[in-house]
Amino acid sequence: MTATDPTATAEEPVEVAVPQRPTTFRRGKGLVGLVLVGVVVALGVIGPLLVPWDPYEQIPGANLLGPSAEHLLGTDDLNRDVLARLLSGIRVDLLISFGAVPAGALLGCAIGALATLNNVLDVAVQRLFDVLLAFPQLILAIGLAAVIGPGTTSVVIVVVTVEIPIFGRLLRAAVLRVRESQFVTAAEVVGAGRGHILRTHVLPNSLEPVLVQLALSMSVAVFIEGAMSVLGIGVSPPHPSLGAVLTTSLRYLDLNPLFAIGPLAVTAVLVLGFQLIAQAANAARGA
């Protein structure tokens, strides 16, 4: 049954614009997303233990080798095992996705929620968010990296800064929406304070959109890490990350295109996984 089936449209209210997809597919999407992310997490956590090479070790005579039984993904320009570097690099991206993104989200939510308690503060915070959101994400990353300098810390700071206004806005909108509902009015009538209402009624009811955005932002974080590496302002050598391993491979595409396949595949799987989870979570909200 497609979304435009006339028999399905008959009973539905006119203003509903949410796409109606079959439930099984929705479940499928979320499940596939979880599996994809799960595979990458497993690779990052267990993988480095299974590879006999150290990601920093320079192996004598092993310069830019192609794939072999000894080096499954070959070796790089500095005689290091690409698979070992890739697997260790995954850890950096997992740290950024599961560490920096939630940190930024938490800060943003806290700022957004607290600001709604005071009108003057609210206006000031909204203007600040306006300005931060006026920068395209990657442009903001470039500006911040110009100040802080390249490195893992820089990537973490960029991701946190990008997330703060997004989650601040999101939570504020949710808070304002829930605050209008009758049960909140009822709580006010019996004399509950604004802080109490925010904690016990408004926040728990604002979490859904936050969770969807969290999955989306994790996907964006992997993108930012890789993009900053490509631009030379990301995780700095000799440390590996998905972006760093990919960037090294770019110089040898003509010589050995397989060098790039590992980081490309892992990045694609991770980003697609987060995206599918976000889509499934969003569809579940709309249902």
């Binding site: 449209t9 442009i139 030379g232 697609l272």
Partner: protein, 319 residues
Amino acid sequence: MTRYLLRRAPSALIVLWLASVLIFLVLRAIPGDAAAALAGPDASPEVVAAIRHDLGLDLPVVTQYGQWIGGLLSGDLGRSYLIGGDIAELVGDGLGNTVTLTLAALVLAVLVALLLGPLWAATRSRWVDRALTAFHTAAVALPTFVTGVLLIIVFGVLFRVLPTGGVPPNGLLDRVDITVQYLVLPAVCLGLPVAGVLTGFLAETLRGELRQDYVTTVRAAGVKRREVVLRHALRGALPVAITTLGLQTGALLGGAVLVESIFAWPGLGLLVEQGITRRDYPVVQVLLMLSVTVFVLVQLLTDVIHAWLDPRIRLGAAA
């Protein structure tokens, strides 16, 4: 219409002003003295002081900010520390290439969305629906650098049919057929995410339109499905499509920097990358301001076009 624009413009100007202060102050906060860096490690304090005076770095910060903004407004973008030359000239050199690339990507994205969006909304085939769902998810999710490298590997390394970097040796305007060959990979790479997002929104809005009562009426009168979608529903979906496109400007501006880096396309993105690696802050400062200005203005323009297409917003705003 004018009244709507006048109502919306002040807040855009305030955001731009605050952004300019932020950019200026943040780049001033960078550790290390530009004058000392320029003079070199062995320079005497007098030389450093002279250079500092030359660059105007000995003036109060407020005066420096005033000079910078005054210059920007009168078209004087200042001088580069290290790359050398007038920033206006550097920007002028890259601007044409970046605009060409971005427009090509935009046209491509709009064409793909206009083709696939209605198809996705109206299709009854499960396989078409699945294929388009897969295209949409991949186009939206895959980072620009992943598709860029894949395009290079497939078309530049495995099949060797298209150039994978740079611009035509005789310039973009010399021979159009050669320019198109150089343009196609970077433009596809830059346009793909926008095409994905736009296709998704268009299809979703069209599905909503198709559930409206007027569609049932027109269908009952014997109009074909395809005609309902193309002639009636598409018009209703246009405001949403325009807004979506406006919101994608940010992704395009950021994406252009990446795509230019991957495909060695000598535009403003490559200039900003150079500015950062060589710590040439006046250049970075101007380019950051430029991209914020474009982003904010396009969003303002989008709102105005949206209001023009949808009288409910325009009249609501006037009331």
